[in-house]
Symmetry: C2
Subunit: 909 residues, 2 copies
């Protein structure tokens, strides 16, 4: 075995490693080396390589230690020298942290030891140095607890047992009659140290190690071992991280911000994480530890003077007080501030992203503990990406990739006023079915929504679940709240389509339609009471909370322009009305990918005509009703085609089972009977005969159009006539007629024949023609399997991945709730397949459908129109399999455009 180099030091603005060495030093190790190398003052330390870990797993503890011992001891000396400390002595003791660090980030999966090097000597040295006895003893007892647990394996024996150290601590607090650790004194901690050591001896039969090197060897091995703990193993399996990689071990000098008035600790952001503005900002505290800044026990101070002034203004703190009690770092320690300012600038320039950094000032010396890309709001995300591109920091593809598609949602919907939100109480939680915030007076019926809205009120529609009959009321409401139904329930799907806030399946709600009340945890809310909904989180609040409308800033528009520069796929929209079409077009939709015709049949008189058609005894009766529906449909299409002028509109022919349209209640049946001049018994019988055990798999889709060809005829006629009428007005319509639920090429051929011969008749009557396409939804597994055949009769495919997912898994969207919940919880499923396309299973069928379809017809136009068309990872999948476009609800269009650009950029090598 050749002797490799196992230890890489860093510190003193230099390093043996660098950012490229993630394989060998792990992510954290490489990053610490890089920071040090570019001149950032990080506490010195060293990284033991991942190779050492790999070797350890082969040759064991004694052998690996003999291999690395010399190098580690050298490295410790290097640290001692830089810090001027000495390991394990009472004279300025050197305390170390020992942390894992694999190539890929595995947050919290492996073990860490802090304050290593502490013993009865070192604690004295720490007291001498800090003058803080309590802090020193507390650090010592914490170290014993952590080390005994992580390294020595002193854990509770069963799950029911209490941690022995916690037990001792609790006993002490009880004895002293105090509740919190903060009420304990230096003496108390000192006593704990003694007791802790005792229990270690009792339980493990050996003394707690006082030799700092023994502590160090134990910790290094413990970190190696933690690579294979069950938690880490499971995480690796989930994230496809190979077990062979191993972890590196980072050993680093501890620094303390609580060593007196010339010490401090804080966090900073290189830009504003809320707005994206390019201003350095952050908070700090003098003579404090990192946790004090976030704990809320002391009020943190602002780093910059400008930030401090603004804070005071908002908090109503007079300038005198501010200057006295809450001065900025810029004012307090101007030199250190300048150093920090330069560092933050350097870091951002180096990492080319907004940084979130942690620093500590120990006795007048600034140390950077960590830097990482900072979390930010959706708005800040977009602004920072675009700004950085303009500043020349990043190129266009990088700017696009910096924006996470899913987070665009935040920019597109109203949000609650944050100040008002703080006083509001969450009374229930449902599913975040459609994003945004809404506040309004509750009503329980769609008709009531209309009434209240007409009187100028903002309303929320509260239902057990919604049905197509509620459409108008839903449209007028500010938001929708349901007690039942999942992310793909009627309410959820429709609301997303409308871009309207919706919380679905809030199981706690007990709705009483008769009384028009909803009861939550015993409290009754009546019609007219105010509630508020957050469709992004699923929270339901009591009372009225003001909302703020989104502003589509300049950066947003610039980002969208950039996406078009890169995306190969177009984005279309799913829209059934001229209004939705317009919204989508404004968001950049390049056409309609799914215009459902059935929604058109629910409003007003239409439902009655539709029912007459369905309840007719024979073809003649159906034709009579269809004749009356024809002008209605035609004018619908004229409206949509006009809104989408010059862009293609994919119209799906009638899809749902007919029983969805007929009246199920006796009174309605009687009314219907009267209208049609038949007996109520007759209506009832016909309605009953339409009952299906599994309507999802029943008489619907093209099965309707093939058994009642006159329906397809009427719809084809309405579409073509609408386009012809617009042509007369010089408006160009590009209809694409889509046959739903095709499973065999014969089904498609029959539908195609009907559509084409109808179109021919219309052309002859008008003495003119237009261009149009005939294609099909691919949503039945068999259609994917026989896509080569079906392509022979279709000019385009549109994957209906909602139904395809239902049939491929054998899950009914409407019924899957109870077991999906368990499956997601137990990890049987990683994602809800109705939200995130299942690439492993359903994706195989989609890929097959695309490849086979194109093999048979090279220029087959292919898209997707399921819910997945607006889900970023699914959009990227669609790009990879070679689709031409995705189609999604209007408010998802920007998200899909960005995801499509991501996919294309990732595709560029």
């Amino acid at each position: 075995m050749t002797k490799a180099k196992y230890v890489y030091t860093f510190g003193n603005r230099q390093a043996e490693g660098n950012a490229e060495m993630k394989d060998l030093l792990g992510g954290k190790g490489a990053n610490l080396a890089e920071m040090s190398r570019i001149g950032i003052p990080v506490p010195p330390g060293f990284t033991i390589t991942t190779e050492a870990c790999v070797q350890y797993n082969k040759i064991g503890k004694e052998e690996i230690l003999s291999l690395i011992k010399g190098e580690v001891e050298e490295a410790v000396k290097y640290v001692e020298e830089i810090m001027g400390t000495s390991f394990g002595t009472n004279d300025n003791p050197c305390l170390l942290s020992v942390r894992s660090g694999a190539k890929a980030s595995m947050p919290g999966m492996m073990d860490t030891v802090l304050n290593l090097g502490m013993n009865d000597d070192a604690v004295k040295g720490l007291i001498a140095k800090t003058g803080n006895e309590r802090f020193a003893w507390d650090s010592y007892r914490r170290f014993i607890h952590m080390y005994a647990d992580v390294v020595m394996g002193l854990k509770p024996e069963t799950r029911e047992d209490q941690d022995p150290f916690e037990e001792i601590l609790e006993d002490l607090k009880e004895k002293k009659g105090v509740e919190k650790d903060i009420d304990l004194t230096a003496e108390d901690f000192k006593q704990l140290v003694t007791q802790y050591k005792k229990i270690v001896k009792e339980r493990l039969g050996r003394d707690f190690p006082t030799d700092p090197y023994e502590q160090l060897w134990g910790s290094i091995i413990a970190v190696f071992d933690s690579w294979n703990n069950p938690r880490a193993t499971y995480y690796r399996k989930l994230n496809n991280i190979p077990a062979e990689w191993g972890t590196a071990v980072n050993v680093q000098a501890m620094v303390f911000g609580n060593m007196g008035k010339n010490s401090a600790t804080g966090v900073g952001f290189t830009r504003d994480a809320a707005t994206g503005e390019n201003v350095f900002n952050g908070e700090y505290l003098i003579d404090a530890q990192g946790e004090d800044v976030v704990a809320g026990t002391r009020t943190p101070q602002q780093i910059t003077r400008e930030g401090s002034l603004r804070w005071a203004r908002l908090a109503g703190v007079p300038e005198e007080t501010r200057k006295e009690e809450y001065p900025s770092l810029e004012e307090c320690m101007p030199e250190l501030y300048n150093e920090l300012y330069e560092i933050q600038d350097k870091l951002e320039q180096h990492y080319k992203d907004m940084q979130d950094l942690e620093f500590t000032i120990q006795e007048g010396k600034l140390w950077l503990l960590q830097t990482r890309n900072g979390k930010r709001t959706g708005a800040a995300m977009v602004k920072i990406a675009i700004d950085m591109h303009k500043e020349g920091l990043i190129d266009e593809p990088t700017a696009v990739l910096r924006c996470t598609p899913a987070r665009l949602d935040e920019l597109l919907h109203p949000v609650f006023d944050n100040n008002a939100l703080q006083n509001s109480q969450v009374i229930a939680k449902g599913l975040p079915a459609s994003p945004g915030a809404a506040t309004g007076q509750i009503v329980f019926f769609a008709e009531d929504a209309e009434k209240w809205h007409a009187q100028g009120n903002d309303v929320l529609l509260v239902r057990v679940e919604t049905s197509p009959e509620d459409l108008k009321g839903m449209n007028l409401a500010r938001g929708i709240l349901t007690a039942r139904g999942g992310m793909t329930s009627h309410a959820a799907v429709v609301a997303r389509g409308m871009g309207k806030c919706c919380v679905s399946g809030a199981g706690k709600l007990q709705i009483n339609y008769r009384e028009k009340t909803v009861t939550v945890d015993g409290k009754v809310y009546r019609e007219g009471d105010w509630l508020s909904l957050n469709g992004t989180t699923g929270n339901v609040y009591e009372g009225k909370i003001p909302t703020i409308d989104p502003k589509l800033t300049g950066s947003f528009g610039e980002l969208m322009e950039l996406t078009d520069k890169f995306a190969r796929m177009h984005v279309r929209t799913n829209a059934d009305t001229p209004n939705d079409s317009g919204v989508a077009r404004n968001f950049g939709a390049k056409g309609i990918g799914l215009c459902r015709t059935e929604h058109m049949f629910f409003e007003g008189d239409r439902i009655s005509l539709m029912r007459q058609m369905i309840l007719a005894d024979d073809e003649k009766g159906r034709r009579k009703a269809l004749e009356k529906l024809l002008p209605v449909q035609r004018s619908d299409f004229e409206g949509i085609f006009e809104a989408m002028q010059d862009l293609p509109v994919t119209v799906r022919l009638l899809d749902p089972p007919l029983h969805e349209f007929v009246p199920h209640e006796e009174a309605n049946q009687e009314e219907m009977a009267k209208e049609m001049g038949v007996s109520p018994e007759h209506v009832k019988n016909r309605v009953n005969s339409l009952h299906e055990f599994n309507p999802m798999l029943g008489h619907r889709g093209c099965r309707l159009g093939n058994t009642y060809p006159e329906i397809t005829e009427m719809q084809a006629r309405a579409i073509i006539e609408a386009a012809m009428n617009l042509k007369k007005k010089n408006i160009k319509a590009i209809p694409e007629i889509m046959i739903p639920l095709t499973g065999t090429v014969e089904e498609m051929e029959m539908q195609e024949r009907i559509v084409r011969s109808t179109a021919q008749e219309v052309f002859e009557a008008y003495g003119d023609t237009i261009e149009y396409l005939v294609g099909t939804m691919i949503e039945v597994p068999r259609a994917c399997l026989t896509a080569d055949k079906i392509a022979g009769a279709a000019e385009f495919f549109s994957f209906g991945t909602n139904d395809l997912t239902q049939m491929t898994y054998g899950y009914s969207r409407d019924d899957a709730g109870p077991f999906l919940e368990v499956y997601l919880r137990e990890g049987i499923l990683r994602d809800d397949p109705f939200q995130v396309l299942d690439q492993e299973g359903v994706g195989q069928l989609v890929d097959m459908g695309v490849q086979r379809g194109r093999k048979a017809k090279k220029d087959l136009k292919i898209g997707i129109c399921g819910e997945h068309g607006g889900e970023p990872s699914s959009v990227e999948f669609c790009h990879r399999v070679g689709m031409d476009y995705v189609s999604c609800s209007p408010y998802r269009v920007p998200v899909a455009r960005l995801a499509a650009a991501h996919a294309a950029i990732k595709d560029m090598v």
Copy 2:
């Protein structure tokens, strides 16, 4: 272009072609040549090759005629010589038939011309020769009609128009005041000839051709043309026959059996088509045409003396009368009979199968017109195959292939007494859901079936549709009749499993449960009235019709033994009771491939325990109920394992959605509530919460076992304990535990864990172990797509092609009726995919599942347990994809064994 040989003659016991030349001469031409070549006296003639047809399509009429003219004229001379006739003259005129004959049989698709050569001279010659003026003129006018139609294209102008020749004929009959052709005289036909010629001239502007060669050329081209008529083109497309093949044209001398007392015509069978007995038999008539034998206007005579004697005995004809009026050919024309006998023997020896032959005796000379393999009953099919093998005529594989699997059904079920059937009236028709015949008194409720049966009555259970609660009554009934439901409705599936006759979906029936009546076409049948059902045809008869039980003859057993010699796949059975298991074992089942456990929960107290389990509030309550179910299940398994001793038994864990078990009627809910000590409201709410929109795609299969693991635990325990208990009694059980509806490997892993840990517990308690397997149904498309993964956690796969078909097509079996009917009628589907496995679509998934499963686990055991496991073409498919076994209902086991043998034999090169 090289000059090819286009015409091949045959006749005079020799021929230029032979049976191997089907490509060139077509099937019929090659066969005529072959017969002639082996010394059979066929009327002489010649075949114009398929190549000529192909050439014709390239080069056109004039060119092809110039190519073949010389050869055809030579061949006509050859025919004239052999027959001593002369083409188109009044001196013993030569009349010819012209028929198509492609390589593959295309019955009725192309055109034929008879009596060609007829003209004003020939008709006189025919009169002179036959002395039958009426026959001669009738032949003439028929020839004109046929030729004008087929060759000259004189057809009705629109679909509504009448055929002009028919019109003239009808006019004549009207004028003469007669109704039938038989009432017309020679003079009438002569007049028709004149009128027919006139209308040809009028309509086509040219004379009817009198030149026999002109007639011949026209006919040959017409037959060529008919290869491309729409009917033939469609048939070719359906049967995958290439258009490039072309058809041959067979021209053959006409012979007449009606030329006086020394002429005759008849049909013969080389063996008994009903019983398979090896005796020559058949019927004939003196001085008659072929159609007279089958027309029923004269009583046909038997060919053999023995046959004649038996006929007389059955018909009650005294020997004197028989000898006088109905003598056998053997008695009448002993020499010709001997010649015929030798010919039939020679033909059977040559074709090595039972022959159905047509012959004509023209003026003392015997002509064979046709021989073909004879149709026969199922019983005859088996006996003839086995006998011929024993006689050394055919080898074992051929004997097996001679038996069509589907036709074994006839041997396994009761049939109606044919004599009694003739007086019975079909009152309705349903689907042939489960084969056999049954007669009984009708009842409308399962309980009534039990009551009437207890009183010693044979009953038929008549229901709108059946449900699991009717099981016991169904079992006691002779047959089942339903008004709704398809071939895979509950009634159909269960009845096939029981081997019980069932007619389903007889839509005409109006059932009134309150009155206990069923009304058909206005006639009311009440409880206790007799009806009879034919489950093989779907016919429903009024009244009582005696049935005859099947006899499994020696040949049947011998055939079954032969199948085992060849089949690679085993056949298992789907059985849930010891009784069914025994039946299947007797039929040669090699184990149980599907034992459904849910049926066990419906009887007696069990349903109540099951309901308590389902309605329990929490796991504790469920466990309490499951504890009580455990001994019940265990003893069920003991019974089945014992019946299947030493053979594997695949037990499927609970599959159906829970709502199938709970009471839906208020009274039952109240009872349940009382039993459980809870409020009726509570029961009602729980029942309602189990409602699903699409239960087929809902909370069922392993989704139950994964959300309520205690159910899987109980069932696994019952199975393993049952096997252990039998082991104590030295009975070997081989349980294979099957997880239903797996869609992801994670689902399977979780179930496997539960089963294995439960088994381990039982083993420890018993201090002993047994062998068992854990595997899964593959019935969800996603399971096929990810079969490689799932195989990692499964020891066997069993394809549940019922559900797989439902999900792959998106068809609900229970709801597909209305559109399936249309789809089958319109040719959108060729077969009902629930009966015949859809190899094009569903089959791809099955194949994928097998290949991927085996790739991951080489020795994975694979079978099928859907309805398709007993359908011959599907069984062959299962063999081809490499399955180890098929499983089907007990009465389908012999069918499947035979089909499996077929598959294996076809696989041998």
